[in-house]
Amino acid sequence: MAKPRKPPTKARGTARKRPPSAAAVATASARAEPEECPPAPLPPLASSKLDPVLRLTAVRAAREKSGLRDVAVAAAASGPQELRRVTAVRDVPLGVKFLAASLSVPSVRALAKADLVQVLVDVRDAKAVAVQVAQWQGETHQVTATTLAVHTPRARLQEIAALEDVRYVESSARLRPHGDLAHLSSRLVRAGVRSVPQTGRGVLVGVIDTGIDAAHPSFTSGGTNRIVRYWDQESGVEHTAAAIAAGQAAASPDVIGHGTHVAGIAAGNGGGSPNQRYQGVAPEADLAIVKTSFMTADIARAIRQVFDLADQRAQPCVVNLSLGGHYGGHDGTTVAERAVDQLCGRGRIVVVSAGNEANDRIHAGTELPRGAAQPARWVADLELVSRAIQGDLMGLLTVQVWHQHEDDLLVRLRSPNGELFSPPRDGSQEFDRSVFFVEAVHQVAPYSGDHSTTFQIATVAQSQWLRGWSVIVEEDRGEGRHGVQVGAVHAWILDREQGHFSAGFTRSHLIGMPGTAYSAITVGSYASRREWTSRDATSPNVVLDQVHLEDISYFSSPGPTRDGDTKPEIAAPGQWLIAPLSQRAEEAWVPLWTRLAGSEYASMQGTSMAAPYVTGALALLLEKEPNIDWAEAKRRLIKSARQDAFTWPCWNSRWGYGKIDVEKLLRIEP
């Protein structure tokens, strides 16, 4: 299916808003003319360098000079609702409607009526413009070398725009809260206001991640910190609400910044952002945070601890896991995943990110033919990446091959020099050579009965030993063997940093564990933002041309699971979400260009960001129906999922059942 694509725009750091043509402005102004007014020639606009809202106010100023009435602007003075109504009738440009919807009532009034208006001016020569504005009794403050904040009489707007050194004039207005792009896409916000009454109040949101910056204003409401418990699995310290209030959580900093961002998407209240613009989905939920070691055993413990806390507090609870790995059968049968199943229940939900490996060639698979004349055979070539381990460069890769218990197959590893290695049944073996070392393990998974063969390869960092490895799977038709009965074979490289398949790879079955857990709600990512202003002075205007808004993120891991479960279930905004930045986050993890100018917020991407979006939405659902169980919550998510030109009308391996629609999720009944 052909997907609509945005044409490429300018490179990062060079973007500028493109003003509409003078002809378009003139047409729009003419359309704004109320029908009952006699046609009157408008004073020509000095230029098209004014943003749409300023254009209206400049027109009004010009009309006042000439004594003409302007219905549209008079309505704007009464508030954005009226402006929207009038502009709909008058067919004023979409840009004006959009801006009007995003501005607060006082801002619209101020822009329409105030004698002095505040604007941001993009200039070539700041000094020359400042001198001229001063002559017109205006005030200027230099923001950057090419940006001036200007207080100017409204009547002078067109003259400022006409200055040769001025490139563009933009209204500086107070924005409405809840205006983030992801919320528009998910239908959480419509026309600048939340579309649902729920805020997550009374619900416990658990975030098991890299920790949290507990002092970030986004997690405080009315002077009270909403983090009710903070466990640090690394130090073993448990911070109570009182300890967090006393600032003791600073001893468990989030130096990676991931957990703080994730928690903010789910339940931040936007504190510290302009007008709480970067509010999370459930801004009044309570938070239970675990700074985890990321070991599966610790994660299972953490979920239990959070749900136990929810029991004590008699709260419904949803836990977010923005993490994953590829060790295991990818069928939800690891002990860790079955522990997740056991913990989920009424008012107890777990949400997991799908993973980011769609393009990483870490899965290979085939369907071996049954009953062929010759024994079936399949080869997947792989290549290691050289990396520093214990201070020296070497190749180190683990590949795990799975096939079903009905099949009798021989699974072997072939080295670049043609040697073949295989482990004994239900056993392990080492193969030590001077230039490489191989460990091989065969296991029958106790729960499913399926077979796994795992090879770990360590090589010297020379290209002839990093390349030329193959996994070879052959049908075993020996005595007492059944050969191929089902034929499904899957192989995973455990980490994309270790290497990739150079042949035989597929773009499926890439959902990580525990995202393959049966009861987990597994979330893919789509793009909702590609621009922001960063605090990187060398390139403040970040514009990512390769991001296709509303389309699936290039990295979002596709399903299904090895046993055919339709995961992911849903896709949510995850490609560039703005959320709280941990004060202690290191630049290696949160680079300068992703940190927003003027606030402690950052832009991040990944299914890690999509999962907490759904977690927040489920917190809203749990506020409405505290006893809903995970299966019904999943059914409602699926039923309410939104399909559009980017998604598919049915389940799809990348989108799941479609895009999250928060408004519909909260509206549909059992």
Partner: protein
């Protein structure tokens, strides 16, 4: 240091060669009672959490085989390290 030694030193080796490892244990019993836990503790298993018929804990690596052979134990899974799923 040869490749095998470097692999072991890195802590990323597939096979466990001593040291304590984190495990998840699936039991054949519905819920472990005190006697069951006591018997498993004899293998060096230190249980930190009980989730229904599953245990989370640590055990000396060389004892995993013995634990797996206990009739009360359905499966022993050595914990693996997961990663955050943000994409830089």
């Amino acid at each position: 240091m040869n490749l095998k030694e470097r692999l072991i030193a890195s802590g990323e080796a597939l096979l466990h060669r001593g040291g304590t490892v984190q495990v998840l244990v699936d039991l054949n019993v519905r819920e472990p009672d005190a006697a069951c836990l006591q018997k498993l503790a004899a293998y060096g298993l230190e249980v930190s959490e009980v989730i229904g018929n599953k245990l989370v804990g640590t055990i000396p690596g060389e004892q995993i085989g013995r634990l797996e052979r206990d009739p009360q134990v359905a499966e022993v899974e050595v914990a693996t390290r997961l990663k955050p799923t943000a994409r830089l």
